[in-house]
């Protein structure tokens, strides 16, 4: 009897302690959030409360002007289509390079598959670095050397994609069954054959699903880099906005086009991923 009382008392003490700790953690978090927003507000050019009533001014202006010149919109959207295709091409090539480069990097940095196991940490650090450098930095450096246009943006996004996909691909490859690889080895297949026939068919659904997700992320990145000067729809958007009032219909057309594109690829990638991951791999995620 005394045992149960003691256990119950100890349990209550432990639960109370836990509640205290999580309460403290939440208090610290709330304090960080509030003081953080206060600080960000102080360092911003305009204040939050002053700006809040104006938050709809710009969209309203844009919508009003676009509605007034609604007849122009289809033509303006058509004008922006070549730039949009460039943005999508940048993302697609970058994803392609990312899949090929990331796939090779993943295979040579996965324990059990790597041809040179001693170099695994080196390749992993290389992937970390490729992931850590923001696309913006690489893009601006390449713009300085190669001039503006789609190539700097492609190289920048591809470099980052190799790092990001390499890590995810390697995590998938780690879980691949070693049996096909061993079977191929026993009949004398070389490393490339072992990977191509033993590993790639196992990991392909997950790799493709990650590549689809990356493609969607890359479209966003490519639009943003265009805004900084690397061509494509982002660049057109910056020009349209700098024309200012009276020409907002052009900006509105690009906004709509960009929005529809991103929503389209977002839905496409999530649908494709669902089919690939849930449908093909027999329940293994």
């Amino acid at each position: 009897m005394t045992d149960t009382i003691q256990i119950s008392a100890e349990y209550r003490a432990a639960a109370g302690r836990k509640r205290l700790y999580s309460g403290l953690l939440w208090a610290v978090f709330a304090l960080l959030m509030i003081s953080g927003f206060g600080l960000a507000n102080d360092r911003n050019a305009g204040g939050f409360w002053a700006g809040l009533p104006q938050i709809l001014d710009f969209p309203a202006e844009l919508v009003a002007e676009a509605a007034a010149k609604a007849a122009n919109l289809p033509g303006l959207m058509l004008n922006a289509v070549p730039a949009l295709i460039e943005t999508i091409n940048i993302a697609a090539v970058a994803t392609l390079i990312g899949v090929i480069g990331g796939g090779i990097m993943a295979l040579i940095s996965t324990p059990g598959l790597a041809p040179w196991p001693r170099l695994i940490p080196v390749f992993r650090r290389l992937l970390d670095i490729a992931r850590a450098i923001p696309e913006l930095v690489i893009a601006l450096v390449f713009i300085f050397i190669l001039g503006g246009g789609p190539v700097p943006a492609t190289l920048a996004i591809a470099f980052h994609a190799v790092g990001a996909l390499g890590k995810l691909f390697s995590e998938v490859a780690e879980n691949a069954s070693p049996k096909p690889v061993e079977g191929l080895q026993s009949v004398g297949a070389n490393w490339i054959q072992r990977m191509w026939f033993g590993v790639i068919p196992q990991v392909a659904p997950n790799w493709i699903s990650y590549a689809m997700l990356r493609f969607e992320i890359n479209i966003r990145a490519s639009a943003i880099l265009g805004f900084v000067g690397a061509g494509g729809i982002g660049y057109e958007l910056r020009n349209a906005i700098s024309w200012g009032q009276g020409r907002y219909d052009a900006a509105a057309a690009i906004f709509i086009l960009l929005f529809l594109t991103i929503v389209f690829f977002d839905q496409l990638s999530s649908m494709a991923r669902e089919r690939l991951v849930r449908g093909n791999s027999g329940g293994r995620i």
């Binding site: 601006l140 050397i145 001039g147 789609p150 960009l258 929503v263």
Partner: protein, 437 residues
């Protein structure tokens, strides 16, 4: 049997066609891209000299030795990268510049080359085993060079001599300028106005604990910290603030979005939403928030709130509310119903059912997603900062656009990469602990 055989063969044939077609399509696409992106034209437009300059500036700096030939009282001025705030005071100059009593200034360059500027402006270039004399005049320059070697570019108005180790001499009628490259990032710790400039590490350590003060009114170690923080060339204080702003944007955006999207995610999850209509409405709201993208949110919000970290935070918050809403509602749909039923059988109300039946199941997913996004938003905040004008992204873009201070660019890149790697490491550690329990 024959039927099965035929089926297998058809399957193999189809696979063979696909395995040949996929690389073919990829190749055709890449050829189209090479034309569309004008790769052939790129080779001619590329400025490889810019690349060489950039690589040199990454690890070294230039010192400019300049004489304004048409000034009333022309004197030779030495400045790092030609910056006014990094100009050497007379007598403080580096030891490779010697001033003779008659006003002659000799600049020693690498590989025994040297340039001497006389008091009247006449220049003597002693390089590659040859000696040349150049005199700036009222209309141009006069030289005794009859047959210029290929490292000298000569006209009536201008002489440019490209010397080894990145050194260079330029003479025009208005200005004589010598560049000398030295390795390292000069003035990184203390600028020229600080009394600690030019001291070696042991000297500095000695000074830090010494009681004779170089600056009145405060101990040396505080003066050192102050001079480092307010360094007029590298602006360490401002850079630290900018890094903090970038991190702040990522933190506020990510966790603010987490707080907002968690309750909303219940409305978008099929097993918690009060009706199909509500669920569809919330899902469409999340799709909209994600579809507008951080770029457009940044532009729209910057109109209302002006440039700064708050705008960046809110742009990240908007996009990520959409992403988290989708992710969290998917996590909620996969929740095991049994603990909820157990709680219901004890008569627990809706809120306790969620708190004790649902949250323990989805907390690890939520936390690991939050940490993952926090890390990836640190990178996004750099880019958004470049657009909205806050944080290290702004400094980076400014430094790159002036196309001058590439060592500063290297410094910022290094800081950003270190910050992101640190975030990656910390969030990886925390996530690993969460998953293990």
């Amino acid at each position: 049997m024959a039927e099965l055989n035929a089926g297998v063969h058809a399957g193999f044939r189809r696979r063979r066609i696909i395995s040949l077609a996929v690389p073919g399509v990829v190749l055709a696409y890449l050829i189209y891209i090479a034309v569309a992106f004008d790769l052939a034209g790129l080779a001619t437009r590329a400025r490889w000299d810019n690349g060489a300059l950039l690589l040199q500036d990454f690890w070294s700096y230039k010192t400019h030795v300049t004489r304004q030939n048409r000034a009333d009282d022309p004197e030779v001025v030495t400045a790092i990268e030609g910056m006014r705030n990094a100009t050497y005071a007379p007598g403080q100059q580096p030891d490779w510049i010697t001033a003779a009593p008659d006003g002659r200034v000799t600049v020693e360059l690498q590989r025994d080359n040297s340039v001497t500027i006389a008091a009247d402006g006449a220049v003597t270039l002693d390089a590659q085993g040859e000696v040349f004399h150049i005199t700036p005049t009222a209309t141009g320059i006069e030289t005794d060079i009859t047959d210029p070697p290929d490292w000298i570019n000569l006209s009536d108005k201008r002489l440019t001599a490209t010397l080894p180790a990145g050194a260079r001499l330029t003479v025009t009628r208005s200005r004589t300028e010598v560049f000398r490259r030295s390795p390292g990032w000069e003035l990184f710790f203390f600028d020229l106005s600080s009394p600690f400039h030019g001291k070696s590490l042991p000297q500095l350590i000695g000074l830090a604990f010494s009681s004779d003060r170089l600056e009145q009114g405060r101990p040396n170690i505080a003066a050192m910290a102050h001079d480092f923080w307010t360094n007029s060339v590298w602006h360490h204080g401002d850079v630290a603030w900018a890094m903090f702003e970038t991190l702040l944007m990522a933190f506020l955006g990510t966790f603010g979005a987490g707080l907002i999207s968690l309750p909303l995610a219940f409305m978008a999850a099929s097993n918690f939403a009060p009706s199909r209509v509500v669920r569809q409405v919330f899902r469409r709201i999340f799709d909209f928030l994600r579809g507008v993208d951080a770029l457009i949110w940044t532009i729209v919000l910057a109109r209302a709130f002006g440039p700064g970290p708050l705008t960046g935070s809110l742009a990240i918050l908007m996009t990520d509310t959409g992403s988290f809403g989708k992710l969290f509602s998917e996590a909620l749909e996969n929740v095991d119903e049994k603990p909820v039923e157990g709680l219901r059988s004890t008569g627990a109300a809706a809120l306790p059912r969620i708190r004790w039946g649902v949250m323990p199941q989805i907390a690890p997913v939520i936390l690991s997603q939050l940490l993952y996004y926090f890390e990836s938003n640190t990178r996004s905040a750099t880019i958004i900062g470049a657009i909205t004008g806050g944080g290290i992204g702004l400094l980076l873009v400014q430094a790159i656009q002036t196309q001058k201070d590439w060592e500063h660019v290297t410094y910022y890149i290094l800081l950003v990469v270190l910050l992101v790697i640190a975030m990656d490491w910390v969030s990886g550690k925390i996530r690993a602990r969460l998953i293990r329990g």
